[in-house]
């Protein structure tokens, strides 16, 4: 199909306009509201709507206030046809078809409309044509190729005929329907009958568990009932025997009580006799003990008297030994005192000798110290005469230097006078007289007024030149200051001053050396302290000399002292031995005295006890004689024997009756009987309770309910297996089919993608590629290895890809009839470089596809090489041909 011409009248803002279109690319330029979009709108409505339509969309296209309707007319070729087709909408509506080829024919109204649709249907894919148009404002949107049979056919052919036919689509739909009977569409979860059966199965499993549990409980009751019945039988059998046992044991217990009473009386009699016998035995024992005690005391008194005499002898010997030891100790102590005196006298002599030596040493030191001190004092006196210290000498040196400087300066501007003495001559220089030896020189400057008088023979008056006056004054000042300083220092010249300064320094060094020697001699001790020390020591030596019994000049004083000390140590040892011996004797004496005292006291106590015992024996005998007491003992023993025999007889009977066991047996038998009766009662109650429960549960018919549930569960399970098998088959078929269908779609979309890539490489670069979806939309763009989803791309890229996709689709179908591609105001988001490449693409595509571009920015399409340009002007009423 190729559009040749489009004409509008009274269409929105366009009164009348016509554009003629080229077979290749036609660029229709025009400002806003020039009517570019109106051409596209009119073209669509021309083919789509009948002239009689009342749609609001149509009503809006006719301007208000005019009598005629809105007219659109198009001239085109399609298939074998060349025709002109026009419609007028809203007012004076009309449809006219004028077929020029292959045979001339004119049709109007509905007939014309239907005929055009028939021609289009037979020749082009109207849906695709609608899809590839790019209207203003939709530049970012994807293309919908959903209903495009021709594109599908073209792609199918390009893909090698692997696309699906109607039959496959129907099968796919049926397979999906079958799948959806069992599974949800999105999550693939079981649904429908299968899900219901599984739910029912879970319910049945729960019911099975519940009923099984109830039946198990019922069986437990049955088992418990049987057990209780068994226990009840056993208890009922045991009960009479237990009752008889209790009666027998109670009778036995009464007999036992009688014997126990007899036994108790006899036990009392035995106990009484035993007490009486024990009392008599006690009294007899007491008397025997008193007699024995009396005899023991008498014997002890005799024995202790003998021991006392022996102790007295021992004590006297001990006292004697003590006295001897004491004397020995005292004698040794006296010897020690004498020896100590001798030692002390030797020590005094040694001390005296040492102090004398020390005194001599101090006196020598004192003499040295005094001498050194005197020398130091002399030096200090000498030092006091030297007044030129470092400061003063520096001052002198400085003044002398200044004076010389002045002399040089003055000398440079005035004549000098040099007098050389040929003999000793007295010269008065400015009033001062001085003797100059033979050969000495006197230099006088002429910078100041001065007078030299040689003896009385010659007077030389020097008057300086007027130019050196101020210099001379300064020189005089300096000179005077130097002379005054020298006078103050007691020297006549700087040379002498320097000699005095050197001597002062030497004196200081000598003083330092002298003080160092003095310190070495005295050791920080002053002469006065040393003198005092010497005086103290002299007095001490005098005292020691007075006390000394041995001459301090003896050569063997230390040997003597050592011998005396050795004697003293030996004596100390003897003294210690004598002291120990005395202490022992003293202890022996004290011990002997103690033993003697104890013996004397023991004898006294024994005698006192003997008296007391004798009195007691006499009192007892007086009360009851021992013979009578022994007779009472014989009688009491007889009574005890009789009672014990009787008790033995009764006890033997009691033992036979097992007195302790009988009580326990009776109590136990009673308790056992009570317990058995209680058990019987409880078991009967429990049995009745179980019976009631069983009756209640029996009425429920649990077995059949359970069997019914089990049967349904098994039926349900079988049905689930059957339906699961069907479901898995449906799932398998659906998933396999859809997988192949998607694969086929991908194969099918490949030719379109390849065309997009072929063109896109020019625009974006060599490494450009796109992925198309099953619905033939661009999913992603890959550039320089980076893949970006379509929706995330920039506006410009999306716009360019949208045009490329439309061009690719148009080219694919161009081999058949082909169809024009209309682009309304696109490439508004494209930069200059890509405008150039897009221009090249459009130029290339126009060789096989008619392209109509509507734009208000003609510069965007200046890169399109071979384009026909048509300019529209606002409110134009005449045709503008190509420039």
């Amino acid at each position: 199909m190729q559009l040749l011409r489009i004409k509008l009248e009274n269409w929105r803002g366009v009164e009348a306009a016509e554009i003629r279109l080229d077979a290749g690319i036609t660029i229709v330029e025009g400002d806003n509201e020039a009517g570019k979009s109106s051409f596209i709108e009119a073209l669509n409505l021309l083919f789509r709507e009948r002239d009689s339509t009342k749609k609001q969309e149509l009503k809006r296209v006719t301007p208000k206030g005019i009598d005629t309707g809105s007219m659109v007319e198009v001239e085109l070729t399609v298939g074998e046809y060349h025709l002109t087709y026009s419609k007028t909408f809203n007012k004076k509506s009309a449809t006219t078809l004028l077929i020029h080829k292959p045979q001339s024919l004119q049709l109007v109204g509905t007939e014309a409309h239907d005929r055009v649709l028939q021609i289009l249907d037979n020749s082009i894919d109207y849906s695709l044509w609608q899809a590839i148009q790019l209207e203003q404002g939709s530049e970012f949107s994807q293309v919908s190729f959903k209903n495009s049979d021709s594109l599908a056919q073209a792609l199918d052919n390009a893909a090698g005929g692997r696309g699906a036919g109607d039959g496959e689509s129907v099968l796919l739909a049926k397979a999906q329907k079958e799948y959806l009977k069992y599974f949800t569409e999105k999550a693939g979860k079981e649904t429908g009958e299968l899900a219901a059966l599984r739910t029912r199965q879970q319910d049945l499993e729960r019911s099975d568990a519940n009923l099984g549990g109830s039946l198990a409980e019922l069986e437990r009751y049955v088992d418990e009932s049987a057990k209780i019945a068994n226990e009840l039988g056993g208890i009922s059998e045991r009960l009479p025997a237990m009752q008889l046992n209790v009666a027998n044991l109670e009778k036995q217990k009464a007999e036992l009580a009688s014997f126990q009473q007899q036994c108790k009386a006899l036990q009392e009699a035995v106990r009484s006799s035993e007490l009486q016998c024990r009392e008599i035995d006690r009294q007899l024992s007491e008397r025997i003990m008193l007699v024995n005690e009396s005899e023991r005391l008498q014997s002890a008194i005799v024995t202790t008297g003998k021991q006392k005499a022996e102790l007295e002898q021992g004590y006297l010997k001990a006292v004697e030994s003590l006295e001897l030891a004491t004397k020995k100790r005292d004698s040794l102590l006296k010897q020690r005192q004498s020896l100590e005196q001798l030692v002390r006298s030797v020590d005094v002599s040694i001390e005296l000798r040492n102090q004398k030596l020390q005194l001599h040493k101090l006196e020598q030191q004192h003499l040295q110290l005094v001498s050194a001190q005197k020398e130091l004092d002399d030096l200090e006196s000498e030092f006091a005469t030297y007044r030129i210290d470092d400061v003063v000498i520096n001052r002198i040196e400085k003044l002398e230097q200044q004076r010389r400087d002045f002399e040089i300066k003055i000398g440079g501007s005035s004549a000098g006078i040099r007098l050389q003495f040929l003999k000793d001559t007295r010269v008065t220089n400015n009033g001062r007289q001085q003797l100059y030896k033979t050969g000495e020189d006197l230099t006088a400057d002429t910078s100041s007024r001065s007078t030299l008088q040689l003896d009385d023979s010659l007077r030389i008056e020097i008057t300086p030149a007027a130019d050196n006056f101020e210099l001379t004054i300064e020189y005089q000042k300096t000179k005077k200051a130097l002379e005054e300083l020298l006078i103050d220092c007691g020297v006549k010249s700087p040379l002498e001053a320097r000699a005095a300064h050197r001597k002062r320094a030497e004196t200081i060094a000598r003083q330092r050396e002298m003080r160092k020697n003095l310190k070495a001699i005295s050791g920080d001790v002053s002469v006065s302290i040393l003198a005092n020390t010497i005086e103290g020591m002299r007095q001490s030596v005098a005292m020691l000399s007075a006390k000394a019994e041995v001459s301090d000049e003896a050569a063997n004083l230390e040997v003597l002292r050592q011998a005396r000390w050795q004697q003293l140590e030996e004596l100390d040892h003897s003294i210690q031995v004598a002291r120990d011996l005395r202490d022992q004797s003293q202890q022996h004496s004290a011990d002997a005295k103690t033993r003697l005292d104890v013996s004397i006291q023991g004898i006294a106590l024994d005698q006192q006890s003997l008296v007391s015992v004798t009195e007691k024996i006499e009192a007892k005998e007086k009360e009851l004689s021992t013979v009578a007491l022994q007779s009472q003992k014989i009688e009491a023993s007889k009574e005890l024997k009789t009672a014990q025999n009787a008790l033995g007889t009764v006890q033997s009977e009691l033992d036979k009756l097992n007195s302790g066991g009988t009580d326990l047996l009776v109590d136990n038998a009673r308790l056992s009987l009570q317990r058995a009766q209680g058990d019987l009662h409880n078991l009967e109650l429990r049995q009745a309770d179980i019976k009631a429960r069983l009756d209640q549960m029996q009425a429920e018919g649990l077995h059949e309910k359970h069997q019914s549930v089990l049967a349904e569960r098994d039926q349900n399970k079988a049905q689930i297996q059957q339906i699961t098998r069907r479901a898995r088959a449906a799932e398998k078929l659906w998933k396999t089919l859809i997988r192949y269908q998607r694969e086929a779609q991908r194969t099918y979309a490949r030719p379109l993608a390849e065309r997009v890539v072929a063109m896109g490489t020019v625009v974006f670069g060599d490494d450009f590629s796109v992925e198309l979806s099953e619905s033939l939309n661009i999913v992603t763009r890959t550039l320089k290895g980076k893949t970006v989803p379509f929706d995330d791309l920039s506006g410009g890229a999306r716009e360019q890809l949208g045009i490329l996709l439309r061009l690719a689709a148009a080219q694919l179908v161009a081999g058949n009839e082909g169809m024009p591609l209309i682009l309304d105001d696109t490439l508004g988001h494209t930069d200059a470089r890509r405008l150039e490449t897009m221009g090249a693409i459009l130029n290339s595509a126009a060789q096989s596809t008619q392209i109509v571009v509507m734009t208000c920015y003609p510069a965007r399409y200046s890169y399109v090489g071979n384009a026909k340009v048509v300019r529209l002007q606002q409110q134009q009423s005449s045709l503008f041909e190509a420039l």
């Binding site: 699906a164 039959g167 069983l694 549960m697 077995h703 089990l710």
Partner: protein, 375 residues
């Protein structure tokens, strides 16, 4: 008794037939001149059956004119929940007797006959109840015929005889030799069984078939063990129940085989009381498989139940070339078919078909069906 494979009215019919057996027995007694009936256990599936089941059975029994001795068995033991202690059973006439202990029944109404039984008191006895009974018996008086009723499995028929409740055949045969009994009527085994060469120990089987595993069900025994008819008592098997539980095994590879199966099914009589379990083998095409499904579907409601025994069925459904061509597949549908057909082949030799291959075969069959045998 509930059978899971019997649905709805088939189960109701089965239950009712079991109750209706009681008047049927009375008719047989009359027809063959029987003096009394012994039932050796498991009259009821459980002591916990619904009260209406007990009442309906008791109602039929109350009309039963012949003496009947009912021995409690392992399913209906004489325990605290015994069905025989319900009011319905207590109200039965005196000639309907439940054997409750080892007491020997003697009556003028049955001269020269002694009946004694070993009832079960719980579901899991720990002793040989029959052996215990015969040990306690004295030899029968001259001219008296003693019938012993017992329930359980004879050790001579059991692979494992270690269970303490097994019935000792040795004791029984010794008791027979000692003239302590003349005939032992046994219950528990659902197949008629002559257990001893003397012909005096029999399992009577079940009067109404209940399962596919039973041998010679639907029978009662007519026994004359009277003294003086030595050496063997007269024992006659009499048909009673109409229910059949049939296994049908068939190899199907061709449409002719399928027709053979159809004929086989159609020949079965009394279909409403027949439960059929099909065990099929062979290899069939999709169309034959679809026809088989149709055949089973069409006959399902005719029978009490008609099922394919999946465990014993090994039927390969493999599409053949004709079917493939018939479908005229193209495009991705053809690719899908090829893949499924390849997966469906994945089972080697006699090995059972893999699950994946089975699913693929089912998917192919479904595809064949959905394509209406041609696209």
């Amino acid at each position: 008794m509930t059978r899971y494979f019997l649905k709805g009215e088939a189960q109701a019919r089965f239950t009712q037939d079991r109750i209706d057996l009681i008047p049927g027995l009375a008719d047989l007694c009359e027809k063959h001149g029987a003096g009394f009936v012994v039932v050796c256990g498991d009259v009821f599936d459980s002591n916990h059956v619904a009260p209406q089941t007990v009442v309906r059975a008791a109602e039929k029994l109350s009309r039963f004119a012949y003496p009947m001795f009912i021995l409690p068995g392992n399913h209906d033991p004489l325990n605290a929940a015994s069905v025989y202690d319900t009011e319905a059973f207590k109200a039965l006439p005196d000639h309907i007797m439940v054997v409750r202990d080892h007491a020997i029944y003697r009556s003028d109404k049955l001269p020269s006959i002694e009946i004694v039984g070993a009832p079960w008191f719980n579901k899991q006895p720990t002793i040989d109840l029959c052996g215990q009974l015969v040990d306690s018996l004295e030899p029968v008086a001259a001219g008296v015929t003693r019938i012993v009723l017992a329930h359980g499995q004879l050790d001579s028929l059991m692979p494992d005889t270690s269970h303490p409740a097994c019935l000792s055949q040795e004791k029984i045969t010794a008791a027979l030799a000692e003239q302590k009994l003349h005939y032992l009527a046994l219950g528990d085994r659902h197949s008629v069984t002559d257990c001893h060469a003397s012909g005096r120990i029999w399992y009577s089987g079940t009067p109404v078939a209940t399962d596919f595993t039973e041998t010679a069900p639907n029978k009662v025994l007519l026994v004359d063990a009277s003294v003086g008819i030595d050496p063997r008592p007269r024992v006659e098997e009499i048909e009673t129940g109409q229910w059949r539980f049939s296994r049908v095994q068939k190899s199907i590879d061709t449409k002719e085989d399928l027709l053979g199966l159809q004929e086989q099914l159609e020949k079965i009589e009394n279909k409403e009381r027949t439960s059929v379990l099909l065990s099929l083998s062979g290899s069939v095409s999709l169309s034959i498989s679809a026809d088989l499904d149709l055949l089973v579907e069409q006959h399902r409601d005719l029978f009490a139940s008609l099922r394919i025994d999946e465990l014993r069925t090994d039927l390969s459904v493999v599409p053949d070339q004709l079917e493939y061509e018939e479908m005229s597949l193209s495009g991705y549908a053809r690719d899908c078919w090829d893949e499924l057909a390849e997966q469906a082949k994945q089972s080697g030799g006699d090995a059972p078909i893999s699950e994946e291959a089975q699913v693929a075969r089912d998917a192919l069959a479904l595809m064949y069906r959905l394509a209406d045998r041609g696209l």
